[in-house]
């Protein structure tokens, strides 16, 4: 039992980086193929469009990933997006200054996330159940508030934001960077990030090691709610309306992006770059399929197959190590 020389630190972290690179390669490969196959793919217009499409799911997926790393799931994010469009639309139409309207909407997202934390920690409900309940009831509350109608937002400046670009890159994509960088630092370079992983791996061991497990869970769901409300603001800006039935099924796209990005639904495995790449891979497939005139029904099937293939190979390699 001698002290073994500590060899170069290869195994784990590099595996993560390698998986990220593989995803990036896949994304680039898709772009190259589509550029060759269709004349319109590589156009500035289409690329901007693609980035806009992918951005919102990407931000949702980051929040979702925090939750999944703790071993949970947040099914409510799509409903939160729809609900947030209603809130922000109503506030703006009521004459509230835009920055304040956005801030309040984000706080609503935080409150919803806190409620999830409360349900899980204090009431002992499984994450699946409490977020499923929010999914359906938030849509209902939104419909009550709007009487089932869409609310048109009468503010051009608000809508202009999502249509504009900065340095040739759509503003929506800048928002991914705005969320992604702090999220990366939070997850990989702060102790709360470590706690998310440790709680997802073994909550009891974390608790006995002095980690505040309850606070960690609150944090994960709050961040997910915050990301979803933020996406709601972006979506309202993009479509110019508040409508509680918007973003139907986005929770599943967010989960899919996260999983394609290497997040394990069993918890304790995940990153920030993974779900971002996953979201843009999905967006590229949808975009490319549109351009290639592939039946929209097929897009759903392709997405499903892709999830199986990527997660299967990821699992193989993790086990193989």
């Amino acid at each position: 039992m001698s002290t073994e020389a500590i060899p170069a630190e290869r195994p784990k972290r590099n595996y993560n980086a390698l998986f990220g690179l593989t995803l990036l390669a896949l994304l680039v490969l898709l772009w190259v193929i589509l550029s060759v196959a269709t004349p319109s793919f590589a156009s500035a217009n289409n690329i901007s469009n693609l980035l806009r499409q992918g951005s919102m799911i990407a931000i949702l997926a980051v929040g979702q990933t925090f939750v999944i790393i703790t071993g949970g799931i947040d099914l409510s994010v799509g409903a939160v997006v729809g609900f947030a469009t209603v809130i922000v639309a109503m506030l703006i139409n009521a004459g509230v200054p835009i920055y304040l309207a956005i801030l309040i909407t984000l706080l609503v997202g935080v409150a919803i996330g806190m409620f999830h934390g409360f349900g899980i920690v204090k009431m002992g409900l499984p994450p699946f159940i409490i977020t499923l309940a929010t999914l359906t009831s938030l849509r209902g509350i939104g419909l009550l508030m709007t009487n089932g109608n869409s609310i048109s937002i009468n503010n051009d400046a608000f809508q202009l934001f999502s249509r504009s670009s900065f340095l040739g890159v759509p503003n929506l994509f800048w928002m991914v960077i705005l969320v992604g960088i702090p999220a990366y630092i939070f997850l990989h370079h702060s102790r709360w990030g470590r706690y998310l992983f440790s709680v997802g791996s073994n909550a009891e061991a974390s608790r006995l090691s002095g980690v505040n497990v309850q606070r960690t869970i609150y944090m994960a769901y709050t961040l997910s709610g915050l990301c979803a409300a933020f996406v709601g603001v972006l979506l309202a800006s993009r479509i110019g309306i508040g409508n509680p039935t918007q973003a139907e099924g986005w929770e599943l796209q967010a989960i899919a992006s996260s999983v394609i990005g290497g997040t394990s639904l069993f918890g304790a495995v995940g990153s920030v770059h993974g779900p971002l790449l996953g979201a843009f891979i999905l967006a590229t497939i949808n975009n490319g399929a549109n351009l290639l005139n592939v039946n929209a029904f097929w897009q759903r099937i392709i997405t499903g197959v892709l999830i199986i293939v990527i997660v299967y190979f990821d699992g193989l390699r993790r086990r193989g190590k």
């Binding site: 002290t3 195994p11 784990k12 440790s198 009891e204």
Partner: protein, 517 residues
Amino acid sequence: MTSTAQELHPAPTLEPGRTILELKGLEKRYPGTHALKPIDLAFKASEIHAIVGENGAGKSTLIKLLTGVMPRTSGDVIWEGKPAALATPHEAMALGINAVHQEVVLCRHLTVAANMFLGEEDSRFGILQQRAMVREAQKIIDDLGFDLPAHVVLGDLTIGQQQLIAAARATVRGTKFLIFDEPTAYLTRKEADQLFTLIRRLKGEGVTIIYISHRMEEVFELADRVSVLRDGTLVGTRNIAETNDAELVKMMINRSIEQVYHKEHFTPGATLLEARNLSGKGFENVSMTVRAGEIVGLYGLIGAGRSEFVTTLYGRHRKSAGQILWEGKQVQVNSEHDAIKLGMALAPESRRDQGLCLNLPVGLNLNLPIYKRISSNLLISSAQEKAEADRQIANLRIKTPTRNALASSLSGGNQQKIVIGKWLAHGAKLFIFDEPTVGVDVGTKAEIYRLFSALLSNGAGIILISSYLPEVYELADTLHVFRRGKLVATHGFHTADHEEILTQALAEKQEKPGGQI
């Protein structure tokens, strides 16, 4: 070794004394450990063969290989004269090999009868014949002499009663070879007697019994032969009539007690912790003190309330009555966080469930309690994170390729070093070690004991929980004996003998029959 044609109907009708199962060079390696070194051993039909050895000697590995739970690394298993692959649990069961585990592995939410017939339910046209099954199960249970109802939900029975059901279940499946893995750990004496009756009866029916136990008296009461394992090696096999306690213990340990149990006596300092009439879930009215520089040992059977007592001290569970004093002042410990802040550290009983984040790196596990310290403002200092982890890995000689290796890839002993090591980096005044050497090899054990001395010499106090009497006996300056949630006796270092302590922990004479430990 007469090889007969394999019987089609698996009724155990072998002539006694014939070899039923033979191991030839059976070996198992895990990454980082050689759990079982090549073993040659033959089991005879209709014998009760005890296997004894310390924790980590390779007993559970042997069971896993024989029941097909784990594949072997090399060697052959000859079953009734023919090589058997034993690659899956199903194959082992088909041959007639079954095991009754220490922890009951049945469905707590199903009825006793449903459990007995799980996997081979009686159905007519796809409809379960529930009443017939209950009747049948009741017949079997009555026949075995267990006084238990077959129609109740398994979870409503005591652990001991569930154990009996697990044993009964194994008997109805054409079993020829039945392994009992420390079956009496949770049983009352009366339940244990019922179990022994069952075991003797199975032997009479020609079943081969492998009986694994820590309790020497049971081995001598039941077994025909006994094999001793030590550090993954088969030390020897003896006829029970031709051996004795002392010889077996010597074979099991093979070193003088002083060599393993490194013990230094320090003059006790100030009182760190005092529990006054503390009660909580699983224990009541416990009072004790822990001083700096001493080891306070808590001995008792599993489920005697020791773990519950220390986890309550540690704020994991709420106390229902009594007081906790820390350095003379009364304190409220409402969470683990409070306890850690006071200066307590707990290395819990189960590495897997409570001690480690198995699928995370060694370094993260080691640093988990100290991330606050190695963060400046919001961010973790990655240089400090690396340095702290590498320091513990080097100091404790944790065998791992790097700090980034997953905790699950390490052997049990090295995992235990992580559980302990994370508190060394953090620092504490009172260390609570709950079964720190379970599943740990002898070498690591000795290292852990030396570490205790180092902690004591730095002025810390230690609470040591162990179900292994020699361990607490040789190490504890003060030894408290627990029985059924109560502190029943207290001894100084070596002021009582093993027998007296054991009797206090078991207290069979006063025990009401049918009760639960």
